[in-house]
């Protein structure tokens, strides 16, 4: 005799793992995303700033070349000429171009700013709404004051201490996003499909306990997201040398609470949804704003103040913020307990609400 709850959990897990597509989306995709974004934003040892340079006279004898090199390199007639200089840890890449070509370079996103060289001065053209462009402007105008070399007094040090890198910001975001997407899509899809194809109605016509069925859904999903999270964490630790600075147990409890919150939400969404077309719409309406607003990839601090206070109410924001606190700021249960309580409480509320209106037939 086999335990029905265990049989249900096994059935759900098998159903999921035997679908190669879903396995890729759960396990492969987050790792690839971490790899792609991690390398794009923090894999470089040096930051490269590209600037267009419109010289006033001979290509080989620009002011900049005189500044950075002992002597000009004669015979170099190509239109684009690169000057590289080490400025602390930042490299400047100068694309020598005419004014018109320089504008095209800006339009194409190859450079963000243009330097035009006059008789004895340099004009810096930057976009005040583009932080990178403005930063380059400030740095370079300090460097070439009135066409003269202004000795740089300070020292530039890259921020590559663990916990401060972009990848450290990104991984908790990816973990949380993975949990939300996996739980919501996985559970809603499984439940709505079973309802629309009448399996749910067939199953409740047996002595199966409804609570067993729903608990099995959650536990099987928890097992799957546990694996997903583990794979992503191990990858981030090995490849990007991520360290979990806070309490690991608190992180696990937090992620379980997040899992439960989205499980409750899934039960609520799928409580009466008759088909997957409607389900797709509902899930997207709920997950997309959180994906955009909750600061998965970039901080939500750039939003206006009133928006931030709304964003902070979103379950995904709560999960990401607390996860970042534990992974990067060394938080433990003492700091994360309110997040854990809020997420579990929300999950419980959604779950009870969903159960009240749940349609088994």
């Amino acid at each position: 005799m086999k335990n029905p709850l265990i049989q249900l959990i096994l059935a759900h897990v098998k159903e999921y793992l035997r679908e190669p597509g879903s396995v890729f989306w759960s396990f492969g995709f987050p790792v690839l995303m971490a790899l792609g974004l991690g390398v794009a934003f923090s894999g470089k040892k040096e930051l490269v700033h590209s600037v267009a340079l419109v010289p006033s006279y001979a290509e080989n004898d620009t002011l900049v070349s005189r500044i950075f090199f002992a002597g000009p390199s004669p015979g170099d007639t190509t239109i684009e000429k690169r000057f590289e200089t080490s400025y602390g840890n930042i490299r400047y890449l100068f694309h020598v171009a005419s004014w018109d070509s320089a504008q095209i370079l800006v339009k194409r996103g190859i450079v963000s700013s243009i330097l035009t060289e006059g008789e004895n001065n340099i004009t810096f053209h930057s976009d005040p709404l583009n932080p990178e462009s403005e930063l380059i402007g400030i740095q370079l105008s300090a460097y070439f004051k009135n066409g003269e070399i202004n000795t740089f007094q300070g020292k530039l040090e890259p921020l590559d201490t663990k916990g401060l890198r972009y990848i450290d910001f990104l991984v908790p975001g990816l973990l949380s996003m993975g949990i939300m997407m996996s739980v919501m899509w996985g559970i809603c899809y499984a439940l709505i499909e079973k309802r629309s194809k009448k399996l749910l109605r067939r199953m409740v016509a047996t002595p199966m306990k409804k609570s067993h069925f729903l608990i099995a859904q959650w536990i099987s999903r928890l097992l799957v997201t546990f694996l997903e999270t583990l794979i992503l964490l191990v990858f981030a630790v090995l490849f990007f040398k991520l360290t979990i600075q806070g309490n690991f147990l608190a992180l696990i409890v937090l992620l379980i609470a997040g899992n439960f919150c989205f499980f409750g939400l899934s039960i609520l969404i799928s409580a009466r949804t008759a088909n997957m077309q409607l389900g797709n719409g509902l899930i997207s309406i709920i997950t997309t704003p959180m994906l955009v607003l909750s600061g998965i990839f970039f901080s939500y601090q750039n939003f206006p103040g009133w928006a931030i206070s709304v964003i902070k109410l979103l379950p995904l924001t709560k999960l990401v913020d607390e996860a970042r606190g534990i992974i990067n700021e060394g938080a433990g249960f003492l700091q994360a307990y309110d997040g854990i309580l809020v997420l579990s409480g929300l999950g419980f509320m959604f779950f009870l609400l969903g159960l009240r209106i749940y349609k088994w037939y």
Partner: protein
């Protein structure tokens, strides 16, 4: 001694928006009895069966299974004694036949032996390790039937178990149900729009249409309601220049799109006269069919429509 009925349906009504699906149906099913609910699509068969299954709630009337009503406190007990197969149930596609049966067996606290027995009973031995997804229509229906039988049900409710299956696959299901009938401990309610199925499997046939019972009885009783046992169906290339109604032994004639449906006392008496007259008056016979009367004829005589329309 009166036998206590297994299923008792008393004057049950059910409507959905504008559709009156079931309008005052009553029936009793005795232990071991096989009953067919026969009717065209939309007759209210599924609604009736789903009310017996406890899936739908009647608007009016009462349904008792072994004397018990469908109320929350009875659900578990009733679910334990009934076995159902819904119209087109889908099972988890990436589970094997054996795993699916194992899952359902666990709900009844039954072990692997019962799963093996069922696999043998529904003849899915060769497919026990196949994913449900890869089963044919007939195999899927046999799996659904196997699941409905897993708990040794006292009441088996099958909603169109062979719809959409080819004749061979249909016969395989019939064989399994026949075998069950010989064991005599299961009552069966089966909905179908195949009259052969009702005739082959069931002791009693209930013909329903528009949510009402039109006729009930054994196959022979129903046929006797037609009053006639034999039918000649004939059509001509040209208009026959003789009065078919004047032929001997004719009880009733219906004409539909140029085909004459002639109920006769004896084919052997009427047919020779028909042929003779056709030759004499140069009526060219296009089609000719002689057969025993069927439930479809009964249904047509009552509703003017075919059963499988």
């Amino acid at each position: 001694m009166d036998i206590f009925p297994v299923i008792e349906v008393n004057n049950v009504f059910k409507s959905f928006k504008d559709v009156h699906a079931v309008q005052g149906i009553s029936l009793k099913i005795q232990p071991g009895e096989f009953v067919a609910v026969l009717g065209p699509n939309g007759a209210g068969k599924t609604t009736l069966v789903e009310m017996i299954e406890g899936i739908q709630k009647p608007d009016k009337g009462e349904i008792l299974i072994k004397g018990k009503r469908w109320k929350r406190s009875n659900h578990a007990a009733l679910n334990r004694i009934i076995g159902i197969s819904l119209q087109e149930t889908w099972f988890i596609e990436k589970l094997t036949v054996k795993e699916t049966l194992g899952l359902f067996a666990s709900f009844y606290k039954l072990d692997g032996n019962r799963v093996e027995e069922i696999i043998k009973l529904v003849q899915l031995e060769e497919k026990e390790k196949a994913y449900v997804k890869n089963l044919s229509g007939g195999q899927k229906q046999r799996l659904a039937l196997g699941i409905s039988l897993i708990n040794y049900p006292e009441v088996l409710l099958l909603d169109e178990p062979t719809t959409g299956l080819d004749p061979t696959a249909r016969r395989e299901i019939w064989k399994i149900l026949q075998k069950l009938k010989t064991e005599k401990n299961t009552s069966l309610v089966l909905t179908t729009h195949y009259m052969e199925e009702a005739e082959y499997l069931c002791d009693e046939i209930i013909i329903i249409d528009h949510g009402k019972i039109l006729a009930r009885g054994t196959f022979n009783e129903l046929l006797n309601q037609c009053g006639s046992n034999e039918i000649i169906e004939v059509s001509f290339e040209n208009e026959p220049a003789f009065d078919i109604g004047k032929l001997p032994g004719i009880k009733k004639i219906r004409s539909n799109n140029g085909t004459f449906n002639i109920e006769v006392e004896k084919i052997t008496r009427t047919l020779p006269e028909l042929m003779e007259n056709s030759a004499k008056y140069k009526a060219l016979i296009k089609t000719l069919q002689c057969r025993k009367v069927t439930l479809d004829d009964l249904f047509i005589s009552m509703t003017g429509r075919h059963l499988n329309e």
